[in-house]
Symmetry: C2
Subunit: 332 residues, 2 copies
């Protein structure tokens, strides 16, 4: 670990094929907190099972990881040489059609929920739908309830109008935990200047993705190109609203990307960001394979001209401030 | 029973507080088939419970009712002096996010499914949303699957664009089981001439509602006004595409209308077609309180100038032809 900056290091999105190896890499890489996905298409009962699985990881490896619920848990992780694991949903499927489940999943320790994942949900529109009517009737109610209990709205896979409306309707800052600016790479999943500005002006956070489909030149993207994008992004959003959300899918079999894309909503195959001849997980860029490689990004950001404070912010301090403000009940 | 026409009599939507009394009224009123709602907001497991409850009604009153699955079951009901009960969902909530459940619910004997109920669903938009983006990505897939197995698409509570797209996308005629023409009473739930024409031109069916919020002058609506509307409607749609879907909610407590409107999607109250000072079930018009009163409609339609053939069609023969064509697998 080459952590000259000394910042807390937070990765605000991973969905790896979890193992002791990866938990040890988190520690070796100095990663104090990881927001892990525990639902793509799962319903409530299925997500409770996923929490049970995480509970057994916590029970088996208490010296490496624990369940994070607050910003202070990130500090506790650093102090005790562990990684705090924060739960999030990429889809509102676990709350089904039941607004009462918002408080229940928060009590179970969930801290992020996307309002839609690629497709239309009961709450909002996903980025692959042809039309985006914005936040639905139920969506407006659920946003209020998420604000009340401290469940963060995440619009990473949502369509543009829904995203702008969520920012507007939410009384609290929202997050886009894993995406990049469209000005750098115009993927459907990356975000327009409009969204980036509205997000930062409302106090929200963007987590930068290392998923190759979100990178300029895909797996061939250079560290320099990525870090120069961050420098430019900071000019658009301000340095306090940018962090990392790597979208790391380490060690996952291709069957997992099929579950992400297809769930149970079609009998056909949908290739999402991929294509028929590029259906599985794409290879990662050579400077980022996982939790051991955050030093590369930190070094690259300094080389791109970011101040130590700005590097520290991007590497984790910005997310930490957001965590501090976001996970508790709405102050009255 | 004053059934001079001799047609099969079908009511293509009821959600009564079921009882032996009501089943006896069905028989006394000469009603050969009723499409009953078994889901407003229920998920799969909950709707299976509702089927279990119906199975116990069938077991207790085999001389009055049985589970209908085909058009021939309507004929069998008439021949054996019983009423065939057809299952339907007012919301796609029972298939959750799982296209595989379409075939499963058809196997369980479900024959109608609305693609949305008032609000946005995973498939289509409901009539109370501010915006209607049309059929979603999952909706297109589910329509194909419903066509394949013989589960009828019902757009009674859907918004206009979604309804027109469902008619267009479906390879088989669809139904609007319970609504009236907006030209007669411009409620949000009633249908525009555009929808009525597209529906009939594609071979679809409209079931006329007796729910007071759908009637001109509400509970004060006269039988003559209703029957003159039918005569005019036949000029728009043709006489073969109109039937009855009374939306009868006999003997229900007001708590049921709250479940219909609010489900689990909001912590507040939503009044739907009602209002704060008119929140419960409205009173029925004096010429239609339930299954004993279909004679009034039959007499009224004749008085409004409909031919015996057209009266027979509206009272049930049109639905019977539609049932014959709709409930089996798609012919290849």
């Amino acid at each position: 670990m080459n952590d000259v900056i000394g910042a807390h290091r937070i990765d605000c999105l991973q969905y790896a094929n979890w193992s002791e190896k990866i938990f040890r890499e988190m520690r070796k890489g100095g990663v104090d907190a990881v927001h892990v996905t525990i639902a793509y298409h799962e319903n409530f009962r299925e997500v409770v099972h996923n929490i049970e699985v995480w509970n057994s990881w916590f029970e088996r490896f208490p010296e490496l990881i624990f369940h994070g619920r607050t910003g202070d848990d990130v500090r506790r992780a650093r102090e005790s040489g562990r990684t705090a694991i924060f739960f999030g949903f990429q889809n509102p499927s676990p709350i089904e059609d039941d607004i009462g489940l918002v408080e229940v999943v928060h009590t179970l320790g969930v801290r992020f929920m996307q309002l839609s994942y690629n497709n239309q949900s009961l709450l909002a529109t996903g980025c692959y739908e042809a039309e985006d009517p914005g936040i639905t009737r139920m969506g407006r109610e659920v946003i209020k309830e998420m604000n009340r209990v401290g469940l963060v709205i995440d619009m990473s896979h949502s369509a543009e109008r829904s995203t702008l409306e969520a920012i507007e309707l939410s009384e609290r800052p929202i997050a886009i935990t894993h995406a990049n600016p469209a000005f750098w790479h115009a993927a459907l999943r990356n975000k327009s200047d409009n969204v980036l500005r509205a997000l930062s002006q409302s106090g929200g956070m963007l987590g930068l993705s290392l998923y190759p489909h979100h990178l300029r030149d895909g797996a061939a993207c250079t560290l320099q190109s990525f870090c120069e994008m961050v420098a430019r992004l900071i000019e658009v959003m301000g340095s306090e609203h940018v962090g990392i959300g790597s979208d790391l899918c380490q060690d996952q079999p291709d069957s997992v990307v099929e579950w992400m894309r297809v769930g149970r909503w079609t009998k056909d195959i949908d290739y999402g960001e991929g294509s028929a001849d590029n259906a599985g997980f794409p290879p990662m860029p050579d400077w980022f394979h996982g939790n051991l490689d955050f030093d590369n990004i930190e070094t690259g950001l300094s080389a791109a001209g970011l101040s130590d404070t700005d590097v520290a912010g991007v590497m984790g301090e910005n997310w930490l401030r957001f965590y501090d403000a976001s996970f508790g009940p709405l102050a009255k």
